[in-house]
């Protein structure tokens, strides 16, 4: 039964949505944007829930991934798909520069990452020969045509980002179920106690940071090739940090699918419902929504829905 | 003889878990009441419930005849009902000195803080040595001393003490019991929870034995027989 449902969901996601909205690029474009946020949100939740690290600087990974991939494909002629993966790798590499931050906890860590994001942004602005400076990069190669499907278009982009988000969520789930996931969960607030039973906590956290950075970098790279344009203020914009956090928490960041659900809900509600009603103040509605969620269902939307449907309470992580 | 503390059919617990099942006991003014019992019997929970740290779900607590229903922890403290918790309940980010000063926070105690602090430093010279150390870095025993010293700064009229000898070196335990004996002689109302039964009995006016959230024995101190008491620890919970 579960499997059939799952299969049906997949079919709807891969075939139904493009068929339904293929004719309205606007809607499909919004869904792609929402899934882009969802991808980062999953990566952020993975770090936050498993690694116990709240990051305010995922824009850094997003930016590095997008610039990495764009530059590789434009300057070195790397084909787009490998370039996207290499973009993710570049973001993971960038996370190595952040290893010293692993010593920090709570808000100290969160802000250190924010500082890194700022530094990367400034580097992108100042390294004009490679990044095009403040003017950015125009006409970044789009995704190619494969098997007759134009991956460079809206539908193609949708399929790609959907796949990225699904794989990321599956990776998250796999880590969470492994012994590593257990050790990571155990580390919350009790790191020393976990270390003295043999858990190399710093290594584990570094691995989570790198994985999270990789996913975010891939999403960033996707976005660069999808919108075919980059500039430092955009690639490293705090939006890439703020919206995914809001989405993850809104959806329920201690679950795997909550961030995805949250991103779709927040972004689509905002753009499709609130924006037409309140062209100027619609962000205010977003603020109200966030506050209401925290006060009414602090675990997020997904756990709240599950509680409603099954009547049971779900445990931590 | 007046009753300083009167607990009637008290029920309390943690969330859905109920721990205390209709606990009733009294502590007469100016006397030392000792509560003993195996681990997990609910002794600490009883003290917490009296102080209002956890909600009371049934029964009543009266202090000097006044019901504490609806009263908040801080109101009780202002009225002289004080609890000396175990050593983990210190202020870990504050200095030893500031921890002690917090003991003098209730308005009535503020005036006497100088004298009281001198007294505490006199009792525990170790604390005087470490007055500027951050309390969270104290050793287990030092933290215990700090908790006791801080409680004494509160100039209690009714004092609930939870396992004061926990983790202390034998010399210090001797000192603690000397202090307790002195306080008792000064006429303080004491409710003492202690695992060191034999020593606690020496200063007890009255003894209660708790098991599985119930009071299973109440006797005057001189009537208690250590052997029988220990046998009761082990007896199976026929009531449960």
């Amino acid at each position: 039964m579960r499997h059939i449902l799952l299969l049906a969901a997949l079919v709807v996601a891969y075939a139904g949505v493009p068929l339904l909205f293929g004719g309205t690029p606007y809607i499909l474009g919004l869904i792609v944007a929402a899934l882009t946020i969802a991808g980062i949100a999953v990566a952020w939740a993975l770090l936050g829930n498993l690694g116990g690290m709240v990051s305010f600087g995922h824009a850094a990974f997003f930016g590095v991934g997008s610039y990495g991939s764009a530059v590789l494909s434009m300057k070195l002629g790397v084909p787009v798909f490998p370039a996207v993966l290499l973009g993710g790798l570049a973001a993971a590499l960038a996370s190595v520069a952040m290893l010293p931050a692993l010593r920090l906890r709570g808000p100290y860590f969160a802000l250190a990452i924010l500082a890194y994001a700022h530094i990367f942004q400034i580097l992108a602005t100042e390294m004009t020969p490679i990044t095009g400076g403040a003017g950015g990069l125009l006409s970044i190669p789009r995704f190619p045509v494969l098997f007759g499907l134009d991956l460079g278009g809206k539908t193609g982009g949708y399929v790609i980002i959907l796949t990225i988000v699904l794989l990321s969520a599956l990776a998250y789930d796999a880590v969470r179920r492994s012994a590593w996931g257990l050790a990571l969960k155990a580390m919350h607030d009790t790191e020393v106690a976990t270390r003295v039973v043999g858990v190399p906590s710093t290594h584990l956290k570094a691995a989570m940071l790198a994985l999270s950075a990789f996913i975010t970098g891939v999403v960033g790279a996707f976005n660069a090739h999808f919108i075919s344009f980059l500039e430092p203020d955009y690639a490293f914009s705090s939006t890439w940090t703020v919206l995914p956090i809001a989405a993850a928490i809104f959806g329920g960041y201690r679950t795997v699918w909550g961030p995805v659900l949250g991103a779709l809900a927040i972004y689509l509600l905002d753009q499709l419902l609130f924006k037409p009603i309140l062209p100027h103040g619609h962000q205010m509605v977003l603020g109200v929504l966030l506050c209401a969620m925290i006060l009414l269902s602090p675990g997020g939307l997904l756990p709240a829905l599950r509680r409603r449907s099954t009547g049971e309470r779900h445990a931590h992580a | 003889m007046t009753t300083a503390l009167d607990v009637q059919s008290l029920r309390a617990g943690y969330g859905a878990i109920n721990v205390l099942w209709d606990v009733s006991l009294t502590a007469p003014t100016g006397k030392t009441t000792v509560i003993v019992g195996p681990n997990g019997a609910g002794k600490t929970t009883l003290l917490r419930a009296i102080m209002g740290l956890i909600p009371i779900t049934g029964g009543d607590v009266r202090v000097n005849g006044r019901s504490l229903t609806g009263a908040r922890t801080w109101d009780s403290v202002a009225d002289g009902l004080v609890m000396i918790p175990e050593g983990r309940m210190i202020f870990p980010d504050m200095s030893v000195d500031d921890n002690l000063m917090m003991g003098a926070f209730p308005r009535a105690c503020r005036a006497g803080w100088k004298r009281n602090k001198a007294m505490v430093f006199d009792l525990f010279p170790r604390l005087a040595e470490r007055r500027d150390q951050i309390a969270g870095t104290l050793s287990g025993g030092e933290a215990q001393m700090l908790a006791i010293g801080r409680g004494l700064m509160e100039q209690p009229r009714v004092c609930l003490i939870d396992e004061p000898s926990l983790g202390l070196a034998p010399v210090v335990v001797d000192e603690i019991f000397r202090i307790l004996a002195k306080l008792r002689a000064e006429g303080l109302t004491i409710v003492l929870v202690e695992q060191n039964t034999s020593r606690a009995l020496k200063i007890a006016d009255h003894v209660h034995l708790m098991r599985s959230g119930r009071v299973v024995l109440s006797e005057p101190g001189e009537a208690v027989d250590l052997e029988r008491l220990h046998a009761l620890y082990f007896a199976h919970d026929d009531a449960a």
Binding site: A179, L182, A183, K185, A186, M187, H188, D189, T190, V192, A193, T194, R195, V196, V197, G198, V199, P200, S201, H316, A317 | Y14, I17, V36, G37, P38, N39, G40, R88, R126, Q133, T137, L138, S139, G140, G141, E142, Q144, M145, E163, L166, G167, L168, A169, P170, V171, V172, V173, D174, Q195, T197, H230, Y233, F234
Partner: protein
């Protein structure tokens, strides 16, 4: 098996350990006592790698421990408990042991975990939330259990018996003895309860102001005037 040579620890102005030197042989049981703040817990922290000494050397089975991170020491066979229990966050009792076993011992052996649960009387609490619903005794037992699950050869126990009521203490002590004999562990145990120490350990070390002031059999040590003055006071065995 374990040797300490001139180990020093300073916290700012405080000298928590000065020149501590001693050795523990394979399978030996040693009681570690001393006044509050003498540096006992600090000594455990140094051995298990939680803090770094400011001076001195320490070796385990011939290998220097300096520079070795805490988690590697756990894998070498040094297991410890904490004076204030520190159950692993958001885990059940069994999960606590699983993490310790997987990472500390590098094996996956549910049978052995059950064995430890039985030995420590934690069987019926196996699936309880380790941070919430445990009584003090159970917390202390879990501390021992986590250390045991890493397959240690040296067990460092910090006041695991403190706060236990007399009967439970005796029962727990017997279990400890059984565990030690069963797995042929070397044991260093900190305890302020003299009879317990005497019953468990043929050798006692006394620490005072960061220095070892006595080392020997319990009755001899507890008759040492300096030990009496600084530590035992009127209390006798």
């Amino acid at each position: 098996m374990l040797t300490l040579d001139g180990v020093q620890v300073n916290f700012g102005g405080v000298q928590a350990l000065k020149n501590a030197s001693f050795a523990v042989a394979e399978g030996e049981s040693v009681g570690l006592v001393g006044p509050n703040g003498a540096g006992k817990t600090t000594l455990f922290n140094v051995i298990s790698g939680v803090i770094r000494p400011t001076g001195g050397r320490l070796t385990f089975r011939g290998q220097s421990l300096l520079g070795l991170p805490d988690w590697k020491r756990a894998r070498l066979g040094i297991g410890r408990s904490f004076q204030i229990p520190r159950p692993l966050g958001h885990c059940t009792v069994r999960e606590n042991l699983i993490v310790a076993q997987r990472f500390g011992a590098g094996i996956n052996d549910p049978k052995r975990i059950d064995e430890i649960l039985d030995l420590l009387g934690l069987r019926d609490k196996a699936d309880a939330d380790a941070t919430g619903a445990l009584a003090l005794t159970e917390h202390k037992a879990l501390e021992v259990g986590k250390a045991l699950a890493t397959n240690p050869s040296l067990l460092l126990l910090d006041e695991v018996l403190a706060g236990l009521e007399t009967n439970s203490k005796r029962a727990f002590m017997e279990r400890l003895g059984a565990v030690r004999d069963r797995y042929r562990l070397a044991l260093v145990i900190i305890e302020h309860d003299l009879p317990t120490i005497a019953a468990l350990c043929p050798r006692v070390l006394v620490l005072n102001f960061g220095q070892i002031i006595a080392d020997g059999a319990p009755d001899a040590v507890f008759r040492n005037p300096e030990v009496i003055r600084s530590y035992t006071g009127e209390t006798t065995l």
